[in-house]
């Protein structure tokens, strides 16, 4: 992964679309005494691929089920364009869901599974046949039309589930961790297909996952959910490059969190010193491992340089893990302070070395309520 | 192999252990026990308890619903479960002849000579010079009726066929109902005993006659208690029954009437016998002796309303009781009763009876 480009995704059309297709407003949901969603507001633009990312228990599946209509919300509103969605029953919502465990009807053939929604709307027979065939072709399952679901592999069932939802041409498609049951290779393949499929049909996808890499690979925007509250909603590059909070920084990708004292535009964490903006006082900075590089020691730049646009520090190499193009290195800076760095392959390193990073790469983040 | 998977073996072991324990428990007998298979009313505590106390034994009784049930049980291999049985005159001969009962040592039954000579001298339980049973009680199968429904006693069995009694009568689930129909059809003339040996043609007529009766039948009864209940719950107003039922209903304050209609009726002489398989023959003999003693016979009569085989029982009775039991005029009374006899073609009778019950 290369160095994150700040602000690169800020102009993403999805994020700034004028009329959202789906509008979630101050949604609160409890199960018994346990709050699950504690006030969620989120707009989703038409044609957007939005991922709701969170750990298990963060409330992401509940949010999806509220949109689908499988749960009733305690307070708040959900709108689809001009329509109040949360007041109509699930079977009248123009929303379809791809379930985590596929939920393929075991007593119906693949064809009948896909035709299910069309039959519910009394679609003409000829149209059903045409659209189902088309949908199955789209997910490359045309030859399995008459097969019994029990005979399909997990990946094939996943495709049927997709076709079954998409054939209805929903305004919003909800996907509840649809890839989590697949093995790693199939999963990567499906990610690619899913993304191109979404571009092809132009339907709004709301995708739930706990896998941050998946979220980054697929989404136009990522909504990071944490214990029932939205931590940050932003395009993947922005959320990676400029995490709002320490939690977001840690959850998306690896990072080093540096606690620093800021005075007069200078941040200092132990012996590491760099130029910064913002208020004075104690602050936390996120520094991605790949932003750290080996300093050119032969250049002989003195340790306490006055040019603080590049920060320098010394540390002993404690551990080096081979990672192909980049190795992961653990640097012991003393006082049990360890910084992780990703260094382009330059052989086995050892002993005490000097490292550097650009001051701009240390991103000031909020600590969050219980970080 | 986990402990979980080992469980089935342990369960089987447990089952085995349980079987062993249960059967072992069954073998351990301490006080001697007499087991009876008798008609209802013949093991009433009012007289059985005294015997249990004086002989330090335990008496347990099963009731039979029909003579055929008794025979089927003895034939079917349950004979060894019972010590004393009370077959009626219809099957007593067959049971004695089939070797299901043990010959009695009359010298151990001092009360025997005091039993009614007429009953004693009947050939019913005498086979090859041996005596296999003691007459115990006798009585008719009278017509019972609800006196609130009948202003005056019905005088004929034919009243049961009255269309006004639709669903209002009960019939005994026993061949006696067939004998009764034969009487109504006049097959008891001139020889009353002919009803126990009907021809195929006559049996077919009996079958038709009883199928005609079915709309009037609310329920077939097979135990005296059941018949008593049917009257008490006002399900029926008339039925062929036992004097025992009359006794029970009178005791309960139910307005029950009992009569022998003009066609006369069937009746029975019950005998007490000891099974061949009994392991307590001496105790059983003492029980028989106790049961035919005049004092016991009086108590049996009090419970059942049946006539005692030991006419000396009358000495303990009031005049009224003697009159109710017709003991003041026994010979005349007995002519009204066609005592059950061995039915040579019992299987044929049974087959027809089953067809009648199964018919729509």
């Amino acid at each position: 992964m290369t160095k994150a480009a700040p602000h690169a995704a800020a102009a993403d059309p999805a994020a700034t679309a004028a009329t959202p297709i789906l509008s979630i407003r101050q949604v609160i949901k409890q199960f018994g005494q346990r709050p699950v969603l504690r006030g969620i507001s989120l707009d989703v633009a038409g044609g957007e691929f939005l991922t709701i990312l969170g750990e298990s228990g963060s409330g992401k599946t509940t949010l999806l089920r509220l949109i689908a209509g499988f749960e009733d919300l305690d307070s708040g509103e959900i709108w689809m364009a001009e329509e109040r969605l949360d007041r109509i029953p699930a079977h009248r919502r123009q929303v379809n869901t791809v379930f985590q465990s596929y939920a393929i009807f075991p007593h119906l053939s693949v064809f009948e599974n896909v035709a299910y929604g069309l039959r519910a709307k009394n679609t003409a027979k000829s149209e059903i046949s045409e659209r189902v065939t088309q949908a199955l072709a789209m997910v490359k399952m045309g030859e399995f039309a008459q097969a019994a679901p029990a005979k399909l592999s997990g990946g094939q069932q996943q495709r049927v589930a997709l076709a079954r939802a998409l054939v209805n041409r929903p305004r919003v498609l909800l996907l509840d961790e649809p890839l989590s049951a697949l093995d790693a290779n199939l999963r990567r393949q499906m990610q690619v297909e899913l993304k191109s499929l979404q571009r092809e049909v132009g339907i709004t996808f709301i995708f739930v996952t706990h896998d941050q890499e998946e979220a980054m690979a697929l989404s136009d925007r990522v909504a990071l959910l944490r214990a029932g509250l939205l931590e940050q909603v932003a395009p993947p590059r922005e959320i990676y490059g400029e995490p709002d909070t320490a939690y977001a920084a840690r959850f998306i990708g690896q990072t080093n969190l540096l606690r620093a004292e800021v005075t007069d535009g200078i941040a200092s964490a132990g012996t590491i010193v760099w130029r910064t903006v913002g208020a004075a006082g104690t602050a936390t900075y996120s520094l991605r491992p790949e932003c750290i590089r080996l300093a050119n020691e032969s250049a002989g730049i003195p340790f306490a340089a006055t040019d603080v646009s590049t920060a320098r520090f010394r540390g002993r190499i404690r551990n080096q893990t081979f990672g192909g193009a980049m190795d992961l290195i653990e640097i012991d800076c003393g006082n049990a302070h360890v910084i992780r760095a990703r260094i382009a392959n330059s052989g086995i390193l050892s002993g005490e070395r000097e490292f550097e990073f650009a001051a701009d790469d240390a991103v000031r983040v909020r600590e969050g309520e219980d970080a | 192999m986990s402990d979980r998977k080992r469980t089935p073996g342990i369960v089987w072991l447990g089952v085995l252990a349980a079987i062993v324990v249960l059967t072992a428990g069954g073998c351990a007998k301490k006080t001697p026990a007499l087991s009876l298979l008798v008609w209802e009313g013949y093991a009433d505590p009012s007289y059985v308890r005294a015997f249990e106390e004086s002989h330090h034994c335990k008496i347990s009784a099963s009731y039979m619903g029909s003579s055929d049930e008794l025979v089927a049980k003895l034939r079917g291999g349950s004979a060894s479960n019972y010590d004393v049985i009370s077959p009626s005159s219809d099957v007593a001969t067959m049971i004695a002849a089939a070797g299901l009962a043990a010959p009695l040592d009359l010298s151990k039954l001092p009360a025997y000579p005091r039993l009614s000579e007429r009953l004693r001298t009947m050939p019913l339980v005498r086979v090859n010079g041996n005596v296999y049973g003691v007459p115990f009680t006798w009585g008719p199968n009278p017509l019972l009726y609800d006196t609130t429904y009948f202003a005056k006693p019905p005088d004929s069995w034919a009243v049961l066929w009255d269309p006004k009694l639709k669903g209002k009568i009960s019939a005994w689930d026993e061949l006696s109902t067939m004998y009764m129909a034969a009487q109504v059809l006049g097959y008891d003339k001139p020889d009353p005993n002919h009803i126990y040996n009907l021809s195929d043609g006559e049996l077919d007529n009996v079958r038709k006659k009883l199928i005609e009766l079915k709309p009037n039948i609310r329920k077939f009864w097979s135990t005296g208690g059941e018949l008593t209940n049917l009257f008490e719950n006002h399900e029926i107003v008339a039925a062929m029954g036992w004097p025992l039922t009359t006794n029970q209903l009178r005791a309960a304050g139910f307005p029950i009437g009992e009569t022998i209609p003009k066609e006369n009726t069937t009746g029975w002489i019950d005998h007490l016998m000891i099974t061949t398989a009994s392991e307590h023959k001496d105790l059983a003999t003492e029980f028989l002796e106790y049961m035919i003693e005049a004092k016991t016979q009086k108590m049996v009569t009090d419970v059942t309303g049946y006539d005692p085989a030991n006419s000396h029982a009358a000495e303990f009775m009031t005049d009224e009781q003697r009159k109710t039991l017709h003991l003041d005029n026994v010979d005349e009374y007995m002519t009204r009763i066609y005592f059950w006899q061995n039915v040579p073609r019992r299987d044929k009778y049974n087959e027809i009876w089953n067809e009648i019950k199964a018919a729509q």
């Binding site: 079977h91 519910a120 | 089935p8 089987w12 019939a171 039948i217 719950n233 399900e235 049974n350 199964a358």
Partner: protein
């Protein structure tokens, strides 16, 4: 995997059990059906087909068999009509009351059959609860007699006794339906009723079939209900068997009927099991 001793330990006892308590008695029964009763009321081992011929010739036996099957079919229908909705409610809507209601359904199974039979007698009798109630409300003026000692009473009693047997497999099959299938159906635009018709009902059919088989087979073999609450013409096939064994001492004919009944029931079980499997797969 498992030791030989272990394998023997788990397989031999059930095999022994089945042989001693099932196969051997059936074989003996089968033999009896080819013997006959002599005029002297002794069962003689002269092998012949007389008993089976008698069953074929005398229409009374077929007549009773058909009556038994009619009653069994009625009980099956009523047990399904009562059992299915209750099982459905239990499985899908009972929520917190589920365990309690489930126990309430099960508890009657612990009560003696006879107690339940007698209970119906006191409810349906001429002086019974139902007639008393109807007369109190002046709906009827004298006892309705067909309530008790009638096919009606037999069907009501057996429906009451065998509905739990019908309900349990239905409940089990409903419980096995993944709830996300129901959600998927709603999600795809099916109303609750249409979801029931298109998803829940087809998926619970194997359970319903198993339940129906229970009710039918158990009723077909019943003899106590006709005895307790049946009418004078309500004799069922098992009553004939009981009377042949118990009173008539015609074990051979009773054995022949029993064997025919067994054949009928085994065929029925075979057919329904095949059907259940087909329903379960498709």
């Amino acid at each position: 995997m498992y030791s030989r001793a272990y394998k023997a330990g788990v397989t031999i006892p059930p095999l022994l059990w089945v042989s001693v308590f099932l196969l051997v008695p059936y074989a003996i029964l089968f033999c009896y059906s080819f013997w006959s009763v002599s005029p002297a009321q002794v069962i003689v081992h002269n092998w012949n087909l007389q008993n089976y011929l008698q069953l074929a010739r005398n229409p009374i036996y077929l007549q009773v068999l058909f009556r038994s099957m009619r009653i069994a079919a009625s009980v099956t229908v009523f047990a399904l009509l009562l059992g299915y909705p209750l099982a459905y409610y239990l499985s899908f809507h009972a929520a917190k009351r589920k365990d309690l209601l489930y126990q309430l359904v099960i508890i009657p199974l612990w009560a003696s059959y006879l107690v339940r039979g007698y209970a119906w007698k006191t409810i349906l009798g001429s002086d019974g609860v139902l007639n008393g109630f109807l007369q109190y409300l002046h709906i009827t003026h004298k006892p309705v007699e067909f309530f008790l000692y009638s096919p009606f009473a037999v069907i009501i009693t057996l429906t009451h006794i065998y509905t739990p047997f019908t309900l349990l497999p239905i409940y089990a099959s409903l419980e096995h339906i993944p709830r996300n299938l129901v959600e998927a159906s709603h999600d795809l635009g099916s109303s609750p009723w249409s979801t029931f018709r298109r998803v829940i009902l087809p998926l619970s059919l194997p359970g319903a079939l198993a339940g129906a088989t229970f009710a039918f087979v158990l009723t077909l073999g019943d003899f106590l209900a006709p005895l307790l609450v049946g009418g004078p013409s309500g004799v069922m096939i098992s009553n004939v068997v009981v009377s042949l064994f118990g009173a008539a001492y015609n074990w051979p004919l009773g054995a022949a009927i029993s064997f025919c009944m067994m054949l009928l029931v085994v065929t029925l079980l075979f057919v329904t099991e095949r059907l259940e499997k087909r329903l379960a797969v498709s």
